[in-house]
Amino acid sequence: MTTTDATLDKTSKKTSPNKISWDTWAVLAAFVAALLIRFGVVKHIPW
């Protein structure tokens, strides 16, 4: 739970109870990135 999630959760009770939290979006984004790397769509990330 993050600041953003907590505040969103509070507002989401008033609007849409099934809205996906930022926390979940972050996990989904990370997994999409991981799969793109895993299946060779993105081959190299420089640092």
Binding site: M1, T4, W22, A30, A34, W47
Partner: protein
């Protein structure tokens, strides 16, 4: 509300604007600002040292983490963050969570279970001690009981997130949560600069320092930054220890919600399992799942390196955001007493957790 970027403004920005869908254009300027500051920090790390060396100057090697935070602090505390960037800057916690999930690829499950087990034991002691001590301090300083609860949860578990989650669960005032958040953030900012100095002065190993930062620094972004300022390995450990602490948030908030409901001052929790799931930080599960995949060689060695680098880029945006959202002028306005309670509590918790970590270091020989 002033023109500068302040803590209460962050909350408003997130409440009104932080919708994951169809808000991309509103957050884009702020995200670009985070990226620009983070990248500038990286360039400064690479070039300032080289320049100083070529001119035979003695200049300490400053990591990109500190440069990014300092650049953000300089902007936030001089010209302020213009309104167009605020919604995007508020996404820094999103990048933090993305970075933590991806960091899971650098931990094999065995390491997570071993280190997580040690962390869990230390976290349990830290949470119990911190809540007891902060409650006592709140009574001594005659703070309002719910403000004391918010400060106790913020110091014991998970900083700002825990405070906001608890505020909703115990029906505390917005003003109390603003006080508690300001105190926790101000102390987190101080920890960024003091913890690495103390760690070096005590010659702590990366392992011991990382655990200490993860146990004692309250907000996840500051804990990750305080760890990374020491070393890459310490940063990893700080994230792991802090993630273990974050996983406890639901249980602590639930306990307080039940207590305040029993006092007739909060709504009764009907479905405890649903409450726990709602409060549980989902990125902890993402971190564990990536770690399981890495353990079973779902990713090649090069792919793990790519994931680790992507995690660093995500943290780069986070560290820029830590600097940008820290405004000392706004923090001063929040009043002295909650800050004093928070400061005394944080110092005692920092010393207490340092003792725990040094004790554990002797037992496990890190």
């Amino acid at each position: 509300m002033s023109e500068t970027f302040a803590i209460p403004q962050i909350k408003q920005v997130q409440v009104k604007q932080a919708q994951p869908n169809l808000q991309f254009l509103r957050v884009l300027p702020g995200i670009l600002l985070l990226a620009a500051i983070g990248y500038a920090g990286k360039l400064l790390e690479q070039n300032v040292g080289k320049y100083a060396k070529s001119h035979h100057w003695i200049f300490p090697n400053i990591e990109y983490v500190l440069w990014a935070i300092l650049l953000g602090l300089a902007i936030s505390n001089t010209v302020g963050v213009p309104a167009i960037f605020r919604a995007g800057v508020a996404t820094y916690e999103f990048w933090l969570k993305v970075g933590i999930v991806l960091l899971g690829a650098r931990f094999l499950l065995g390491d997570v279970l071993k280190l997580g087990g040690v962390s869990l034991a230390l976290v349990a002691i830290e949470i119990t001690g911190a809540i007891a001590f902060m409650t006592l301090l709140g009574r001594i300083f005659h703070l309002k009981p719910k403000l004391t609860t918010l400060l106790a949860v913020g110091s014991a578990v998970c900083g700002v997130s825990a405070i906001i989650a608890t505020q909703g669960a115990i029906d505390a005032d917005e003003e109390d949560s603003s006080f508690a958040i300001a105190a926790i953030l101000a102390l987190g900012a101080l920890a960024l600069f003091t913890f690495p100095l103390i760690g070096h002065a005590l010659h702590l190993s990366d392992h011991a320092y990382g655990l200490w930062a993860g146990l004692a620094v309250d907000n996840t972004a500051e804990a990750s930054a305080a760890g990374a300022l020491y070393s890459d390995a310490a940063g990893k450990l700080a994230v792991l220890a802090k993630t273990t602490r974050n996983a406890m948030i639901g249980f602590v908030v639930l306990a307080y919600a039940i207590y305040w409901a029993s006092q007739g001052q909060a709504k009764t929790v009907k479905n405890k399992a649903a409450f726990l799931w709602q409060k549980f930080p989902k990125f902890v599960l993402g971190f564990l799942l990536i770690s399981v995949l890495a353990t079973y060689h779902f990713f090649s060695k090069d792919q793990v390196t790519a994931l680790a680098n992507l995690s660093r880029w995500a943290f780069l945006l986070t560290f820029a955001g830590v600097g940008l959202r820290t405004n000392f002028r706004e923090m001063r306005k929040q009043g002295l007493r909650p800050f004093a309670v928070g400061a005394i509590g944080e110092v005692v918790i920092a010393v207490f957790t340092l003792g725990l970590v040094i004790g554990a270091q002797k037992i496990w020989g890190w």
